[in-house]
Symmetry: C2
Subunit: 235 residues, 2 copies
Amino acid sequence: MSSEDPNNHPRRAVVLVSGGLDSATTLAIARDRGFDSYALSFDYGQRHRHELEAARRVAEYHGVVEHRIMTIDLRAFGGSALTADIDVPKDRVASAQNEDVPITYVPARNTIFLAFALGYAEVLESLDIFLGVNAVDYSGYPDCRPAFIEAFENMANLATRLAVQGRHLNIHAPLIDLTKAEIIQRGLALGVDYGLTLSCYDPAPGGRPCGHCDSCRLRAAGFRDAGAVDPALSG
Amino acid sequence: MSSEDPNNHPRRAVVLVSGGLDSATTLAIARDRGFDSYALSFDYGQRHRHELEAARRVAEYHGVVEHRIMTIDLRAFGGSALTADIDVPKDRVASAQNEDVPITYVPARNTIFLAFALGYAEVLESLDIFLGVNAVDYSGYPDCRPAFIEAFENMANLATRLAVQGRHLNIHAPLIDLTKAEIIQRGLALGVDYGLTLSCYDPAPGGRPCGHCDSCRLRAAGFRDAGAVDPALSG
């Protein structure tokens, strides 16, 4: 499972790390594939800023080479329950077939995050960007769909100095076809400590998950379906 | 030349405004096409931050509805003479056929700027983003090429809530096929006051253009070829 480049150096990967379950798993997968990881997180005015503490813990645990936290003010745009004074929905009926875009969707968030990852990758001369979007999140977030990821990769391969040099950049979304339970099983097999992660959109002041937002509910169902106990809840 | 939507409201456009000659012209073109303009600028750690003052003057002059300046720290990545401690090249031989990417190229800058514009547009329910890339800048900046703009538009049309609703977003690059002289002639015909703009990559402390960087030289050649006087130099 080695990933050496022609000069025999381990390859560098930029990994988007939110501090949640999915990105922790993605980081473990990047490491498992032999990449040296450079973690990138965002302080974007999210109400669940506790996730940045989780991102730091997760990045450190997985031995990343570097962890950068970019500050960007998506509150300036608003338009989401995560960045504006809009209540986070609780206990709503989740459905993978739901065609509405949830109010917790942040306008263009993944586009913006991937754009920064592209700039970071270019400076590192990395040709690999990992992010933890998946089929469950896909239940309504337009920028978690496979077609979006593919279109971003196409665009990225025209955007940079590396592209001009004919070097192909890959956007890896290794969780995209997995259920939450499969993600958790994969992560446990790779030694992820989910006790370090935080998924909640609306945690209590101390960082304790609310248990009722879409993200908490998807996570709970995932652990249940995986036949595992969520270590973040057993404190 | 009216641009009314089906509800008879003027359409909203997000216009990227740097404070330079190209974006001032682009703003005038958006207005001429009947759009209400929402200007977006970036304080990204550029050494030529004086351009933000120019951006404010230009936006005000053109009567934008709103002007947002996002602060993002591209210095954190570096990799460019505009954002790192690298000298801006002076008096180099400019050539549209030059295949090297200049050191003034900022990694993924237009991707990042357009990503923010996409988020802003989505919140405004705008389906039109304007930016002032052109054929002359194309002489080396990968993210000024027509194929890049087209790929970004394709990606953007998969990225957002508006995309899910089947509403098509347009990335307008009205200068892309124009020479600098043609841009200036077009702008003068639309009443642009180029005395408000600043193109220099490395202005003196008071904001006076250096006259020797690529951007100053392209601008000077453009005014000469257009048979016009640059009002920014006649002070």
